[in-house]
């Protein structure tokens, strides 16, 4: 185990230098990097916000099932199916019917089925029929129908979230899908997450609806911004989908912040027609079922642009414009998990992390020299090489370093010497019975090999499981611990062994102080 061929030595140090090279990249000028690779700091070290958002598709399902009412009734009528007791429930439509078999055939026909489209990639229809008894049925979304609704809502939500966050202008945001209902948002360097949370918490469904004179059928009672209770027609004149642009502005006369908007052609037509027909009436501008303002229509607006004035500050106007520009979320989002660290706490964490690393490292180094003298020095060189390689591998993987990750590095320092301790202790034992020093070292290394491997693989298993199940900062710990084990094995079995062999082989005669 002590004889190295030249090519072996060359390879051992080449790999070491190659990996070490990457660790240096972290110290290069970050503005003009030679190779753009570095260890990223986790949110707990650089400060920032981690948000886990969850979509709630229930309102969407309700809306979608309602949209099936008219086509379903039409289908029933067109085919002379007599139905009664038609009820619109939260997630299904129920009714009584004589000829259920016929409905079945109609509902599950693959040709031109507008009511119940066939979803090819799932081999399933959008809707399902539940037969309650001889004459009662329920129409509801199939499992895959629900999945399709959910997935498209999630995709759309991610898109809208991205637009809103990009519009605010935070640096390097991460927006990812997590599972089938959640969106993970990481915003490094963000000091105040409240604004983003507010922006993401609004669905921002904008409607223009006429204010009705009396409590006729089809009105909602909504409260306006000045506390006035208004009957607003359920009929939507125009919605936020027709908006092309929105910008915050100031009203020329009152100097009040306003939001000006521009409509697309269809929107401009609808808006023009409604304002022409209803001069003198009031038009309510409704955002998420709340009236922002309800101005009177003084004259027809056919230009395709308009102004929303309300009781808002300039910041609120800016945010409203942003929300309108980015579009409405298909469903409401809730923040189910939030972790925010201020930048100064992050800086403190880095400081205390580095301090404890240096102190822990120094203590271990002195202990090893005290214990093993010259071979302690070798173990320490291996330890330093180990740390450099660990940082190098983290850089190659562009891994994220977190505070627990720093703890993982310190722990690696403490545990890394174990490999060398195992080997040295074994050699000591061999030296007792073995006359030749070289032979003793040789046997020591080969006998300790299995033990070292076994002992490290157990810790590696723990690290892998932690990586798979951990989240955020804890994952960072698993990464450094896991990589630390691999670099430890390399430095103990290649670097330290070669250094040891140089000393032992040069000292053919005499005693070795171990």
């Amino acid at each position: 185990m002590l004889n190295f061929s030249k090519i072996n030595i060359f390879l051992i140090y080449l790999i070491f230098l190659f990996i070490s090279f990457f660790s240096i990249l972290n110290f290069q000028n970050q503005k003009e990097p030679l190779i753009d690779k570095k260890v990223n700091l986790g949110l707990d070290l650089q400060g920032g916000s981690y948000l886990l958002l969850e979509i709630n598709s229930d309102p969407l399902i309700k809306e979608k099932i309602q949209s099936k009412v008219i086509p379903l009734k039409k289908l029933l009528k067109d085919n002379n199916l007599n139905y009664s007791n038609f009820k619109i429930n939260e997630k299904n439509l129920s009714f009584s019917l004589d000829d259920i078999e016929k409905l079945k055939l109609l509902l599950f026909s693959k040709k031109n089925n507008f009511l119940n489209p066939y979803i090819g990639n799932y081999n399933s229809f959008e809707l399902d029929l539940e037969i309650l008894d001889d004459s009662n049925v329920r129409v509801l979304f199939s499992k895959y129908g629900l999945l399709t609704i959910n997935n498209s809502a999630l995709k759309q939500s991610i898109e809208i979230v991205r637009r809103r966050i990009d519009d605010v202008g935070t640096k390097e945001p991460t927006i990812l899908q997590r599972g089938d209902k959640r969106i993970l948002v990481e915003l490094p360097g963000l000091k105040d997450p409240e604004r983003i949370k507010n922006l993401l918490g609004k669905t921002a469904q904008l409607n223009f609806r006429l204010v009705a004179d009396n409590e006729e059928f089809g009105v909602d009672k909504l409260v306006s911004e000045i506390g006035e209770e208004l009957n607003v027609s359920k009929r939507i004149v125009m919605s936020g989908e027709n908006l092309i642009d929105a910008q915050p502005n100031f009203n020329n006369q009152s100097n009040q912040p306003t939001v000006s908007f521009t409509l697309d052609r269809l929107g401009a037509q609808k808006f023009g027609r409604t304002t022409t027909d209803n001069v003198g009436k009031r038009l309510a501008i409704v955002l998420d079922e709340q009236i922002i303002s309800a101005p009177s229509i003084n004259e027809p607006i056919t230009s395709g642009s308009g102004i929303i004035s309300g009781n808002f500050s300039f910041q609120e106007a800016t945010d409203l414009a942003l929300l309108l520009r980015s579009g409405a979320l298909p469903t409401p989002l809730t923040v189910v998990e939030e972790r925010t660290v201020g930048p100064d706490l992050g800086a403190d964490s880095i400081k205390s992390g580095i301090t404890s690393l240096i102190v822990g490292f120094t203590l271990v180094i002195f202990f090893m020299i005290y214990k093993y003298r010259i071979f302690g020095l070798i173990a320490n060189l291996a330890l330093i090489a180990n740390l450099i390689m660990l940082v190098g591998v983290l850089t190659i993987l562009e891994a994220t370093l977190t505070l627990p990750g720093i703890a993982g590095i310190i722990l690696t320092v403490g545990m890394a010497v174990d490999a060398n301790v195992l080997i040295f202790e074994r050699i000591k034992e061999e030296l007792k019975t073995e006359k030749s020093i070289i032979h003793a070292f040789d046997i020591g290394y080969s006998k300790a090999k299995i033990t070292v491997l076994d002992a490290n693989i157990t810790t590696l298993i723990a690290a892998v499981i932690l990586f798979a199940f951990g989240s955020g900062p804890v994952k960072g710990f698993a990464i450094t611990l896991g990589i630390g084990i691999v670099t430890t094995l390399y430095s103990a079995y290649f670097l330290a062994r070669h250094l040891t062999s140089m000393i032992v082989l040069n000292k053919k005669e005499g005693k070795v102080n171990l």
Partner: protein, 302 residues
């Protein structure tokens, strides 16, 4: 230097002691329960720094009580003027909660307040986190069981799992006794303890296996004793260097890592003890001898 300490004579009393502490830990975990942090219980955590050092905990508590937030826990956290507030929250998160708390505190305390860290975990996410934590620990135990089964005979595998259970339960038991908080980083610590303790056990088992073949006349107790002595200096040195590193995290690593490093220190101490006084003696119960090893060899070689 190889010691010659008679460990085997102490196996019995050590096993009784272990059993007692183990049972006590289980009882504490069952009846006193664990002090779950917001990661596993849900709720809001705020680490704040006030520029006015004269405020005290009761002022913070009383101003928060006026908000009707339910169970509130306030404690000093590290430096003077740093506090940690925990608010139990039963419903899904309220977007306005944190700004409202900030406003209330600034108004009532007459101080500039900086929220250094805010964590908010909803009830659904917290129960998922707890579940995945339990799965992770169980899975790691199973993985270790299998690894040792592959590398050694089944008796060793069972022995190492007994030792691991011992370590994990007692560590968590001490957290229950001292009412220390269990959060995500404690799960990470427990998993690392599993790895570390296994590491220690494997080193001794490796030697036991080697000595079983070497000294066929010695019984398992004598073999265990010899093997423990032969590896003792390694066991102590590695525990010491690991403890040095952990102590430096515990003392200098800041408040956030304190619970984690404390759990690890406990784990290293218990793990070192268990590999000597639990893992090795267990083999006796299975009547492990050099014959156990031979049988296995025959099975493998076709």
């Amino acid at each position: 230097m190889i010691t010659n300490i008679d460990f085997s004579s102490k196996f019995k009393s050590a096993n009784i002691l272990s059993l007692l502490i183990f049972i006590m830990s289980v009882l504490f975990i069952l009846f006193k329960g664990l002090n779950y942090g917001i990661d596993f219980k849900g709720g809001t955590l705020i680490e704040l720094r006030a520029d006015n050092k004269n405020i005290n905990i009761s002022e913070i508590r009383s101003s928060l009580n006026s908000m009707n937030l339910g169970d509130i826990n306030v404690k000093e956290f590290g430096k003077e003027g740093d506090y940690l507030i925990k608010v139990e929250q039963k419903t899904e998160s309220n977007n306005q909660l944190i700004p409202e708390i900030k406003k209330t505190l600034i108004n009532n305390l007459n101080a500039e307040i900086d929220f250094r860290r805010v964590e908010n975990v909803g009830p659904k996410v917290s129960s998922e986190l707890l579940q995945s934590g339990i799965i992770a620990i169980s899975l790691s135990l199973i993985a270790m069981l299998f690894y040792i089964w592959i590398r050694f005979e089944w008796q060793f595998s069972v022995g190492s799992i007994v030792a691991l259970f011992h370590d994990v339960i007692i560590t968590i038991g001490i957290f229950s006794i001292l009412s220390l908080e269990i959060n995500l980083s404690i799960i990470a610590a427990v998993l690392t303890i599993v790895g570390y303790s296994m590491n220690d056990t494997v080193v001794i088992y490796d030697r036991i296996r080697e000595n079983l073949n070497k000294y066929t006349r010695l019984n398992i107790n004598e073999i265990a004793n010899l093997s423990i002595n032969e590896t003792l200096s390694r066991t102590i040195i590695t525990s010491l260097t690991t403890l040095l590193a952990l102590l430096s995290i515990y003392i200098l690593g800041g408040e956030i890592l304190r619970g984690f490093s404390f759990a690890m220190i406990l784990g290293v101490l218990i793990g070192t003890y268990s590999s000597i006084f639990v893992a090795a003696p267990v083999l006796k119960f299975f009547k492990v001898s050099y014959k156990t090893l031979e049988k296995k060899e025959e099975k493998i070689v076709p």
